[in-house]
């Protein structure tokens, strides 16, 4: 299917690729429609004067507070692997990556 190009140039296929999400045709249509509407709503921010304003990554300036570098008790292998979808010989199994 050809990508639809909106006023906000949303290439839905590109975004899905960046996000590594497989979408069904129905989901693609739903998301296209709502993103268009939501991005239009976001346009109101264009009217705000942000000249010389610093961006906030957090609500207030917070600097990393480092703890002492002490050796703790890490998970043992069994615990670390207990949630792996597939495992063998203390390793996670994934599809072949290198030919």
């Amino acid at each position: 299917m050809k990508d639809k190009n909106f006023g906000h140039s949303v290439h839905i296929e590109n975004i899905a690729t960046l996000a590594r999400i497989h979408l069904t045709e129905q989901e693609r249509q739903d998301i296209e429609k709502s993103l268009d509407e939501i991005l239009e709503y976001f346009d109101k921010l264009r009217t705000v004067n942000v000249e010389g304003i610093e961006p906030s990554a957090h609500a207030f300036p917070l600097y990393d507070i480092l703890r002492d570098d002490e050796v703790g008790t890490p998970f043992d292998t069994k615990t670390a692997l207990q949630n792996a979808p597939r495992q063998r010989n203390n390793q996670v199994i994934v599809p072949k990556v290198v030919e």
Binding site: S9, A19, E37, F42, V48, A57, A59, F60, Q82, V92
Partner: protein, 488 residues
């Protein structure tokens, strides 16, 4: 024994447990029995482990008997929103993608509740990855509002709110990124606190938007919420955004101590779109404070109009990054249909995430993409600075703010689910508090003509939880809303 033991407050229960008239096992069984009898209608729980929970109650009874009570919450059941890690228990985030996942460690809040002797009761339902305002987005089913089961309980901590309101638990933990504790608390007629960013450790909380997320307590009285907040708050080495705050200033004595305050009423929060019954009910609450001797003045928060857009840019951007970890490799669901390693990511995420989560990941990915970064994400971060400055300016002249929590009482299931933007707008009064890093309390102040709860919001300066709790406590003492229960 009173047949409605599950509706008593934690403070009353603490006295009963102290006196020996009640055991934690009896209390825990009452809560389990209540859940068994009504949860088919509410669907507030995703899972619970009766044996484990009762064992914790037995331990608590032994401590009380030997005079080794750990805290006023020793033996009190607390439900956990299903995105907070409790060692050995499942954690789903309301998503298919975490199917089968069992937490290998305790969140800091869980560790602190264990140290206080709390009975860690079941895993509470929620919108998938905390994305939603109605609890209709859970893979494990919609939650119903106990006041009217054709209506939503709010979200994303909808399971927590419904369970507390209906006596399926005494207290609960929720999390709040844009209103997810306060809005469901208002819809279900209970009390919920969104602590200041940094007041409660996020270690062990599954991240949605890391610069906005906070864990907070939900209960049926301000005192109960304050008591649980005291247990879970405080600096934690495991969370670099946790703040070294002094816990003594939000002790119960401090909360119960009335002080005359200057309360600001932001006019922008009482404009178009606010339900007239809610407006009237909150004006009555404001008059109560005036008559009690507090100073009340109108203030203006000029950036209010932009908060929704800023929030949905920042929250989705952070979410798209945080949720990249769910890829089917190390834990949770994995698609069986993948052709190769990269296809494994596409299929697992395509099959594992629900539609609202996909929409937000897509939106977040879009606003972070190279060509849009400056016009959306960076701009939103700058406007966030202006929103915070707006509040800080107002807080030079007032101590606290009072606003609505929601524009309307609980809406019908299905009413807004087809229109994401309308759904997002139901958070209009709560999101700015997360963006500005403030604390806020949602507490009941009346019932609508349809007998649906109405709540109001008290907003405080960063790390001034004791002030919002104190003002809420004063209102609660003069009214009887904490004994108002749904007819379920």
């Amino acid at each position: 024994m009173d047949s409605e033991i599950f509706y008593k407050s934690a403070s009353e229960l603490d006295s009963l447990l102290d006196s020996g008239k009640l055991t934690s096992v009896e209390l825990t069984k009452a809560v389990i029995e209540r859940t068994r009898s009504i949860d088919a209608k509410l669907h507030a729980f995703i899972s619970f482990d009766e044996e484990k929970t009762l064992n914790e109650a037995i331990q608590s009874d032994m401590r009380r008997k030997t005079g080794e009570k750990l805290s006023n919450l020793d033996g009190i059941p607390v439900g956990i929103k299903d995105l907070i890690s409790e060692r050995g228990q499942p954690l789903t985030c309301g998503s298919k993608i975490l199917g089968g996942y069992v937490s290998p460690y305790d969140a800091t809040v869980i560790e602190r509740m264990r140290n206080a002797g709390c009975v860690l009761w079941g895993r509470l339902n929620m919108d998938e990855f905390a994305m939603g305002s109605s609890n209709e987005n859970s893979y494990h089913g919609k939650v119903a509002n106990p006041w009217d089961i054709s209506r939503v309980p709010g979200g994303s901590s909808g399971g927590s709110a419904a369970a507390v309101a209906s006596g399926e638990t005494i207290l609960a933990l929720g999390s709040d990124t844009g209103g997810s504790i306060r809005q469901p608390a208002a819809f279900c007629g209970i009390v919920g606190l969104k602590p200041t960013y940094g007041a409660v450790s996020r270690y062990g909380l599954v991240a949605f938007a890391s610069s906005l997320d906070q864990i907070g307590p939900m209960g049926r009285s301000v005192e109960d919420v304050a008591t649980l907040f005291h247990v879970i708050s405080g600096h934690d080495d495991k969370d670099s955004s946790s703040y070294p705050v002094d816990k003594t200033n939000h002790s119960m004595e401090s909360v119960k101590n009335k002080r005359i305050k200057t309360i600001g009423i932001p006019s922008e929060y009482f404009g178009e779109g606010l339900d007239p019954e809610i407006r009237q009910t909150i004006e009555d609450a404001i008059n109560f404070y005036k008559n009690a001797g507090h100073r009340v003045k109108e203030v203006s928060l000029t950036m209010t109009e932009y908060t929704m857009a800023v929030y949905y840019i920042i929250a989705t951007a952070e979410a798209s990054s945080n949720l990249a970890r769910f890829d089917g490799v190390r834990y949770g669901y994995r698609s069986e249909r993948a052709k190769d390693a990269v296809d494994l990511y596409y299929r697992t995420r395509g099959e594992g995430f629900g539609s609202e989560v996909k929409r937000r990941i897509m939106l977040g990915t879009y606003v972070l993409s190279n060509e849009n970064f400056e016009s959306y994400y960076l701009r939103a971060q700058k406007v966030r600075t202006l929103i915070r400055n707006d509040f800080m300016e107002v807080f030079k002249n007032v101590d606290l703010l009072i606003t609505p929590v929601t524009p309307s009482p609980a809406f019908k299931i299905g009413e807004k689910s087809a229109d994401p933007l309308q759904m997002y707008l139901s958070d209009i009064y709560t999101i700015s508090i997360n963006l500005a890093g403030l604390c806020a309390l949602s507490l009941p102040c009346g019932l609508s003509s349809d007998r649906l709860p109405i709540g109001f919001q008290i907003i405080g300066k960063p790390f001034h939880e004791h002030e919002v709790l104190s003002l809420g406590y004063e209102f609660e003492q003069a009214h009887d809303f904490k004994n108002m229960h749904p007819a379920i």
